[in-house]
Amino acid sequence: MMRVKSSAIVMTIYLLFLLVPIYWLVNMSFKTNAEITGAFTLFPHELTLRNYAVILTDPSWYMGYVNSLIYVVMNTVISITVALPAAYAFSRYSFMGDKHLFFWLLTNRMSPPAVFALPFFQLYSSVGLFDTHIAVALAHCLFNVPLAVWILEGFMRGVPKEIDETAYIDGYGFGRFFIKIFMPLIASGIGVAAFFCFMFSWVELLLSRTLTSVNAKPIAATMTRTVSASGMDWGVLAAAGVLTIIPGALVIYFVRNYIAKGFALGRV
């Protein structure tokens, strides 16, 4: 009985530590700037939606969200499409250099984006892709493709090989087998991989900021705009922050049992 109590206390303290800073952000997003800088209040006394209204009515603000969503979705589709056959190959066959290839993919997840920022900028400028959504989507493939391959490989290993063999005997070709039979079997794995591709592309700032200027500028870079001549617009900054948390918070419940797997590249 005592142990149950002590662990509940530990968890409560830890969760409070996690939630209080987030609460402060949400709290601030509903305050007027006068209240933020003038008075110190634990909850908004004059509840205002102005900060959200600013973001949702000004194209230079909400286009940031649209741009982010466009390249994130593009990246997710590309990553999953190329990762599916590769993960199948890794889970079913052994071939020359497979272990080295697997390790090489891992190093891409581990390489610092700062190393790649400048060459990416020059590469995409020289092929005329600078400031387009596809440039950011391709750049994020650097870490998302390895991630997708690793996660999908983990799920595919759980499908018995006999299913493949039976399908081939029944006269299925590889393509039809893969789409009609195999993909439905690992549907949850595809969902989890897609979620993590979405998430890692959504949270990344360094590459997306370096590769865009106006047309494809992500919301994260737009947020730096809140410094103006009249000082910081704290309320709008907080509201923009809250809006970036929402996509993750919406789907988090569905992937709760796979979170560890996704962050560990499918190795758990």
Partner: protein, 290 residues
């Protein structure tokens, strides 16, 4: 699992190979090219040999950034790994509360990096932040924009806030896979709580802990956005870590040669550490398989 030997599988891997080659190998070769050349713009290059590498290896700026980086990663690991294990041991095992804990704990992991910075900036500021105001109210002189130590503490607490849950979730996944029979055997032996942890839980968590340490080391070693938003690398240079320094050098000052030499050495360190971890991980898998 036994796999069929089939070199035609290369065709299935080909799309990944082409894509990653485009987004990793070509940029990396550009970096290699810059690191051994000097340029005055207009795409004119002059062979510089190892000059930039020599300059970087002996530069005190790089040494300082590296020192700060190693210290930062060491502190992060020393705090987050034990704390993560401790939290995982205290998490509810199943039911509604377990789901709730999982969801709430994962929340910081899914927040964009710069928003994490913004949250802590807003939270810690002395004029408008709950933390800054609270500390001032109980008489602690805290100001992360002026004081190097306060800036360090802020950046470390922020990282603990952001990533401890990852370690905890990984350990939790490891703990979930332990069969009840082990605990029952321990109870029959009247093993102490410590003995259960030391001889049952810790060995079972070995694999996930290895991944947790690898991920936390790597990600803290290339941290950029969060400290950049909160402190901008300051006050002075006190929180300028490797990535921040590198971006400053490459994009800010356009010192391409030194920045490229810096990048390559940075990348090699990462590669070496990944390789060590990967080898240990695969050996561990093999040992478990037998």
């Amino acid at each position: 699992m036994d796999k069929t030997v089939n070199n035609k599988a290369w065709f299935l891997v080909l799309p990944v190979l082409v894509l990653v080659a485009f987004s990793a190998v070509i940029p990396l070769m550009t970096v290699v090219n810059y690191s051994v050349n000097d340029t005055f713009g207009n795409n004119q290059f002059f062979w510089a040999g190892l000059e930039w590498f020599e300059e970087m290896v002996t530069s005190s700026r790089l040494h300082d950034a590296l020192g700060r980086q190693v210290l930062f990663s060491a502190i992060i690991l020393a705090i987050e790994v034990p704390l993560g294990i401790f939290i995982a041991l205290n998490m509810p095992k199943k039911g509604f509360w377990a789901s709730l804990c999982l969801v709430l704990m994962a929340l910081p992991l899914l927040i964009p990096f710069n928003v994490v910075g913004t949250i802590w900036q807003i939270f810690g500021r002395v004029d408008i932040g709950l933390l800054g105001r609270g500390l001032a109210a109980i008489g602690i002189d805290y100001n992360y924009t002026n004081d190097a130590l306060d800036a360090w503490i802020t950046v470390i607490v922020m990282d603990v806030w952001h990533w401890t849950s990852l370690v905890a979730l990984l350990c939790y996944a490891g703990l979930q896979s332990i069969a009840q029979a082990y605990y029952q055997a321990a109870r029959i032996d009247q093993a102490s709580r410590w003995a259960v942890f030391r001889y049952i839980e810790l060995p079972k968590m070995q694999g996930v802990l290895l991944i947790a340490v690898l991920l936390r080391f790597m990600d803290s070693f290339m941290i950029y956005t969060e400290p950049f938003v909160v402190t901008g690398g300051g006050p002075g240079n006190s929180t300028t870590f490797l990535s921040i320094d590198l971006v400053k050098m490459a994009v800010g000052q356009f010192d391409l040669g030194p920045a490229a030499a810096f990048s390559i050495m940075y990348f090699l360190v990462i590669l070496l550490v990944s390789w060590v971890f990967y080898t240990v991980m695969t050996n561990l898998d093999k040992a478990e398989g037998q």
